[in-house]
Amino acid sequence: MQRFSGLTLLRRGLSGQRGWQPQWRRAEPKPSYDAIIVGGGGHGLGAAYYLAKEHGLRRIAVVEKGWIGGGNTGRNTTIIRSNYLFDESAALYDHSVKLWETLSQELNYNVMFSQRGVMMLAHTVHDVQVSKRHIYANRANGVDNEWLSPDEARRICPLLKVDDIRFPVMGAAFQARGGTARHDAVAWGFARAADALGVDIIENCEVTGFLRDSNGAVAGIETSRGVIRAPRIGVSAAGHTSVLLRMVDVRMPLESYPLQALVSEPVKPIFPCVVMSNTIHAYISQSDKGEMVIGAGTDAYTSYTQRGGLHISRHALEAICELFPMFRRLRMMRAWGGIVDVTPDRSPIIAKTPVPGLYVNCGWGTGGFKATPGAANLLAWTIAHDDPHPINAPFTIERFRDGELIDEAAAAAVAH
């Protein structure tokens, strides 16, 4: 692998930036591999990288229907945090945050992980109770999270309007280690590093079926570019997981919804952290390029169209304009949609499937980006050991049958 550094950039600058090699090879599918990852997003590429790096597998392929990083990896709002309520979730997401903290060096690719802090606003007495429960639970689990008064919140984010709004801000939970990263770089960085370890990254290769051996175990995949055999296959295909697993007659507790996001035109730095409000549905940060990056909600109905309704983006901007009334004059430059796969308890699945040799990583809903290195790392472990790592052991498919839900959504539920 050609090393990236300021020095090499300088040196190549003297010769017109010639001599750079492709960051990953354009691999042709081989007849067989030790393991195949289906899905060339950050999660899938990362899983291939960790399989090669930490588990010594050498013959690995990642097959991607389109271009790598073109799914939810490249369509999210890049928020990274680990302040989840339940012990199992906090452990999972914090595993990921720890990997994020050294990922640029690990991959020799600047993924621009920016620990700007994530502020989650509380607008009601109930919100305050829920926030504090998160904070105390997180701290007990070694995850940083602190309570901010409205004044303290404004000291960190001076543009935030806390009074004279429909739902005044009563405080906020703040995770300083949270932040954002450059989404495309994560896919490319994992691809380049995996490629350097011999992983074949095969783009424009759509899976059309699975091969099974006489015991019912998985034996390979049928693709638009021919049959590829492997005894172990990890599916990391986000919104299309249900479609793929149906090919081996496994129905998944998943539904795929459109999720939208949008950015403003770029402006000079003005916004120092990530601000989220689950109560009024506002999610905002500023990108390195200066755009305000805003997450909108999911549409009400399942869809694979990668687009959503106007009322969904309106709703997102209503909330942003309420909290940041100076942003009413900013303009939406671009909006886009992704497909998110949602489980009944809003927690992911990283697990073995009923089919031997077939593993799945899915159900990340709206929060998959933050988990990229962690999920990849754990999927690789699970494939390598044919058994989950203790961190992802609770995130099975069977938890729904047994009632062992990790219900992050319900835990924030409002009643009274």
Partner: protein
């Protein structure tokens, strides 16, 4: 904002409706006879079809009625809507995969 053809009121804008998930998932008549797996299947397993999806909507802010629809989840185009308790229109049934 979709335009949805309520079988009772005609074409109406999406804000009047509430999505009701996959259609034709009947609650087992004798839950005691269900295994844990069967009960979990009823609660949680969904086809999540990429293609023609059989789904429920309720015209909550209109006539209040639940009804069923066939919608292509790759285009969001509705093929048909029909009343609860009815089967999807025969001509379209083949489309359901």
């Amino acid at each position: 904002m979709l335009l949805i053809n309520c079988p009772y009121c005609g074409e109406r804008p999406e804000p009047e409706f509430v999505y009701g998930g996959q259609a034709h998932i009947a609650r087992p008549t004798d839950p005691r006879a269900c295994s844990d797996q069967q009960w979990a299947d009823y609660l949680y397993l969904r086809d999540n079809v990429k293609g023609v999806h059989n789904e429920r909507w309720r015209h909550t802010h209109g006539c209040g009625r639940f009804f069923n629809a066939l919608r292509d989840t790759t285009t969001d185009r509705f093929l048909a809507t029909y009343e609860v308790g009815h089967e999807p229109p025969a001509t379209l049934k083949g489309a359901h995969s």
